[in-house]
Amino acid sequence: MPRYGMVIDTRKCVGCQDCVIACKTENNVPVGYNRDWIVTESHGKYPNIQMEIRTERCNHCSETPCVSCCPTGASHIHDVGGVVLITHEVCIGCKACVQACPYDARFIHPDGYADKCTFCIHRVEEGLKPACVEVCPTYCMYFGDLDDPNSEVSILLQSRKWHVNLPDAGTQPNIFYLT
């Protein structure tokens, strides 16, 4: 059984937000909300600046505070790929998961349910890549099975330096940033 994850090459990302827009149109995300977003971090004093640009979203963690806190079972781990999903019909919009997520990846959809990135599981199950990965004009995003040592994502993680967001949160995130 696969364990889906993403590897994002921050050396290539230009922060253009194409991933954000592709997600919005693919998934009909309402105006005013995003399931993914860009973070630009810069340090130093002009002109000696170091800067990292990265695209962020739900980390589809292996340890999931958002799932364990959910009172209805709407927030759950999908039986394929370990993807964290929300059953909209079951969700009561109580915001417990919104509070629990250390990455601020969830929001309450205007229709009343918690919403976030699904890794475009509807596409992945058809053999396609997530919309954000497919659109990226810098080819900085990779999606695949972290448990398969021969997958593109595994090979990248073996050959390049990387970090995850909030490693101390204990969530074991499945999105990795190449530096």
Binding site: V14, I21, K24, T25, I53, I108, G112, C140
Partner: protein, 732 residues
Amino acid sequence: MNSLSRRKFLKISGATIATAAVLASSAKSIVNAAENVTKKNGLQIIPSYCDLCFWKCGLLAYVKDGKLWKVEGNPKDPLSNGRLCPRGTGGVGAHYDTERLKSPLIRKNLRGEEKWVEVTWNEAFDYIADKMNKMKATYGPEAMALFSHGIGGNFIKHLLRAFGSPNETAPSFAQCRGPREVGFELTFGDVVGSPERTDIENAKCIVLIGSHLGENMHNTQVQEFSHAVEKGASIIVVDPRFSVAASKAKYYLPIKPGTDMALLLAWMSVIVNEKLYDADYISKYGNGFEQFAAEVSQYTPEWAYIETGIDPELIRETAREMVRYKPATLIHPGRHATWYGDDAQRSRAIALLNALMGSWGRKGGFYVPYSYSIPKYPYPSYPELMKEPLDNPNGKYPFATGEQISTGIREATITGQPYPIKGWFIYGTNLMQALPNRDETIKALQNLDLMVVVDVIPSEIAGWADVVLPESVYLERYDDLNASPFREGFVGIRQPAVEEPNDQKPNWWMAKKLGEKLGLGAYFPWKDIEEYLDIRLKLAGHSLTEIKKEGIIKGPKKPIYYDNGVEPEFLTPSGKIEFYSTQLAKAGFDPVPRYTKHPEPPVGYFRLLYGRAPVHTFSKTQSNPILADLMSENEIWVNADLAEKYGMKTGDRIKLKNQDGVISDPIKVRATERIRQDCVYMVHGFGQKSRQLRSTYKKGASDAELVTKYNTDPLMGGTAMNVNFVTFEMEV
């Protein structure tokens, strides 16, 4: 808690509009286009090409249950490689934009008051044709001028030529890439062109001088830049602002604005004095190298340091870095080159630096592009022109060749010399943001008997028109064929995926109907554009039915480098690369570029710089609901220490006042370490003043409004706009 009532409560409390709700608006799909559509799970997928900028990327429009769902890149298209930029991906919003023009309008009150009467297309065409015929009788057909941007203007250009006017221009020359094309043509005998012939993908060293790839999203260039970064290309970025590209660079040169020529000359002196140039290439293809070398050898890095503020050792080191990878060293020519007034000469210096690398015509430098040849439609010949174009009287700007000077036409409209201009036809360009010094534009248009604007939105320039004609957006219409010069020959088609929501019409239809009203029906012999396109394609051995299927037809592959079969050809007077330009010397200009010291901002003022953001194109896309959701206003970048000195924090709203006392709309401060202290920066296209475009009205500030001063390039008439200084007005 009852989940339904909970949801209902949230729905009422949420102050947002769902995209899904917008999707439920009135558009219908084109049913008769079934034969060219791939059907999958009830979806229609229609190939076309984009119009969110001038790059013309191939796309696939997805129509679900008759409604436009999403737009993706066409994998068969060599420009997009199946990946659009954020604007193209958000192109869906152009169709659903609720602020679009919906019907033809005729002005009711004074120009610029934006009071209109809605009219029928027939009434609009009668009004225009009557004015144009009277103008022709009184002043001659050349009194009508066209400002046009984008391929959609082709049929209107044809109409104006059939009418008998030679005056047709676009701001893309004198307000943008003109100096670059002239500088390269003077040197290599050919222009850089669009898409740029830069072989970024194969470059081993890339030098960007003020060119912010990644923030300007020229799709193929950004894709190739990313591949080059991945392959470990050495990147050198010269910019007063620490751009996104700078964050990918091995060397960042924080140059003082206005001094780029000093850096270029110093680089060339290092390369010449240390004899690091490609001697074989230069002896084969160069002309006047000795004179050039003698001239540039004087510009030491120590001299350049005083001008540019760049450490002399860094200048030497980066010069040697470029040499290390030659000829696969690309000193990028940029695109928007109208900066200081000596821009054609600065572009020529960039061309010469590339010539020293031997990169023109070589892999990793500049490839030799070619187009798929599609014959023109066999129209009857145009009427003989009675007068010359008036944009450049007596060749005042002797090297403004090939394209007309938009600001020259504006000038003639003000003065009536050398002959009167009484009509402006404006297609797809917001002159209020594109041309410098807004007052001159307003003064010119007050002299007109007729001003017609064709646009998809009520742009600022549309607000000044007598007649506004609402155009279908690109996803709703056919346009002319696109055969961009590129790495490979191809022809692409734009075809409708959905119908117009209201009474909008395609430009080809407007041109034909207005042509018929003007008695020029013989110039529009085709029944409709499908017949026009089919005839053109059949002349090339193809057909409309064939191209509609995949949206693209590719031609045979040809070599694109001197090293693999392209015969070098330099269409200069010497037939070689002109290191020393005799034609410039003859015309009284510097035959080898020299340094001009440009005025610096007075104390308390800062140079206003402007550029692009990935999600917007000029001032065309700000009302697109998807793109506006990600960027609805611009910010003024201010160095963090400077901001602190003035007591400004990120998020504060201030106004900017320029050297002529013009005050901007309020704009948010972005206090940042990513910019020098002698300049400020904003993204172009905001601070719009069209009252009909409510979502963008005075959102952010307009750099164009603050560009009251401009220097004119004496070689080619380009209007340099980085010469304005602003100060901060805290009281908002």
